[in-house]
């Protein structure tokens, strides 16, 4: 009952109520209340995630699994940031100030560590995309050639150089200039492809949502019961 029936019942009831709320304004209160409950559960999920991370890394240190010294780094960083944030350590405005107030330890953790680390991790991708362009991007067949030509037009068209390269075209043929071609590709061919993908995904989401609400799809329960 607890493992399968009750969760499936909760899912179905909540799902049905929200679908009905879409059609009847009288259910607005139900819609906003359930949304609030979802938001709160989402916030608790972050605490669950943090707790799980701590447990996982402490376990790794305890069992001396490969890479365990780095897990100590993770645990220390986690606890430092957590304590600094939960207790608003160094916050000049005290308990009533925002947790990320200037000068607080939590703000230091964000500005000195989180910000540069996340930004640099993502900037690494520039190097990898350059390497991939050189080593893997080959016009091996018709499809790859189409992809390559479209990419080249877009890359040129999104910069000043694209306009300069085709500025010599007479006015009646200006629609063939690289910036205009680039805009046309984005707003026509790309739009068509992206729309096909969106409609396809949309149909998938709609059918899966319906199956979940009707209790047919139970993989979210995990384990044998799904």
């Amino acid at each position: 009952m607890i493992r399968v029936t009750l969760p499936v019942l909760i899912t179905s009831v909540v799902g049905f109520l929200l679908v009905i709320a879409f059609f009847f304004r009288g259910f607005d209160r139900v819609n906003s209340d359930l949304s609030e409950y979802f938001n709160i559960i989402a916030a608790v999920a972050f605490i669950l995630g943090g707790g799980n991370l701590l447990r996982m890394h402490l376990d790794k240190v305890q069992r001396r699994r490969p890479g365990w010294p780095y897990s100590i780094v993770t645990v220390i960083a986690f606890l430092f940031t957590l304590i600094a944030g939960l207790f608003k350590v160094g916050n000049s405005q005290g308990w009533t100030g925002p947790v990320e107030a200037q000068g607080s330890w939590f703000n230091f953790a964000y500005d000195a560590m989180f910000n540069p680390l996340q930004a640099t991790m993502f900037s690494l991708l520039a190097f990898f995309v350059a390497s991939a362009s050189y080593r893997a991007f080959r016009a091996r067949n018709v499809e790859a050639t189409l992809l390559l030509v479209a990419a080249l037009i877009i890359l040129l068209g999104r910069t000043f150089v694209g306009g300069v390269l085709t500025s010599w075209l007479p006015q009646p043929l200006q629609f063939l200039s690289i910036p205009n071609l680039s805009n046309w590709i984005m707003s026509t061919v790309n739009l068509a492809g992206a729309r096909a993908i969106i409609i396809g995904i949309g149909l998938g989401v709609i059918s899966t949502s319906l199956k979940i609400i009707l209790g047919i799809e139970r993989s979210y329960l995990g384990g044998r019961e799904s």
């Binding site: 819609n31 930004a119 520039a126 080959r138």
Partner: protein, 292 residues
């Protein structure tokens, strides 16, 4: 498989990737140091956003969301700063909020770099409000749809929103005139369209990273009135702002300045693609495949 060493083209095709990394780093660093800039022309898809904001009457209510983190600041921050400057110049009521925890510092930067620096006469709680972050992704938009003050009971400074003059008359999402979503993924612009703009019939404009932009074109122009895609989109909005209001020239050209390194890096990437393909077709790998 080509013999060890191989022809010149084979060796070109197998160059160590670390040389490619050096080349792309130089392609960005040198134009940055040389302060290389190029003129920027605003395309219609961006101009639509500018024209919409420019046409809103004084006192119109605009939600401006900072749904991004430090990883996409170079693309998203110039967009949101330019839009905020424009909105404040037009004396619109601006409601800042974010669906990302990492959006909170971005809102703080907006308060410091735009509000305090360029519009110190505007009063928090009356002309603008920072509603901060709420967890829940699309659930936040869904609860704001029917009960906006309920979803955001306090602003970022802890004031009860019901006591703020700017929140007078705001009950639900439909009470707003425009939503401008500046985002870089989930939750973001797509969720604002699906859960906000479409059901509440509020126009939505967007500024997103270049990665996300191609997938949002299907929503333009009916569900999305305009779209700033990546650094180029940000530069185009800045260009439109500076063209109409030249007094912001010194403050609103961050993206325009970054288009210099962007352009050079694009040319380097194109050169890599062309060189790689020449090495492939002229080298042993392609000839070996043909024989096979």
């Amino acid at each position: 498989m080509s013999p060890a060493g191989g022809s010149l083209f084979d060796r070109i095709g197998r160059v160590d990737r670390r040389w490619i990394y050096v080349a792309i780093a130089l392609a960005v660093i040198i134009p940055l140091m040389a302060k290389l800039t190029f003129p920027v022309i605003t395309t219609p898809i961006v101009q639509n956003i500018f024209d919409k904001l420019d046409s809103l009457p004084e006192g119109s209510r605009v939600i401006l969301t900072a749904d991004f983190g430090p990883s996409t600041v170079p693309e998203n921050m110039p967009m949101i700063q330019a839009v905020l400057r424009h909105a404040l110049h037009k004396k619109l009521k601006v409601y800042l909020l974010t669906l990302w925890a990492t959006g909170i510092p971005q809102l703080d930067l907006l308060e410091k770099n735009v509000l305090a620096a360029d519009f110190p006469d505007r009063v928090a709680g009356t002309d603008w409000v920072n509603l901060g972050y709420k967890a829940g992704n699309q659930g936040v938009i869904n609860s704001a749809f029917s009960d906006f003050p309920g979803a955001f009971p306090v602003d970022s400074k802890g004031h009860d929103v019901r006591t703020l003059p700017i929140m007078a008359g705001i009950k639900r999402l439909a009470d707003f005139n425009l939503i401008v979503g500046i985002g870089s993924g989930f939750p973001g612009v797509k969720e604002w369209i699906q859960f906000g703009g479409d059901p509440a019939h509020v126009p939505v404009a967007a500024g997103v990273t270049a990665v996300e932009a191609p997938l949002l074109y299907p929503y333009y122009p009916r569900q999305l009135l305009g779209l700033m895609g990546g650094l180029q989109g940000a530069a185009e909005y800045e260009a439109a702002l500076v063209k109409r209001y030249p007094e912001y020239q010194s403050r609103s050209e961050e993206a325009i300045k970054r288009m210099g390194p962007q352009t050079v890096a694009h040319l380097v990437i194109i050169a890599f693609i062309v060189l790689g393909n020449i090495a492939f077709f002229a080298g042993g790998e392609f000839k070996g495949r043909k024989r096979a």
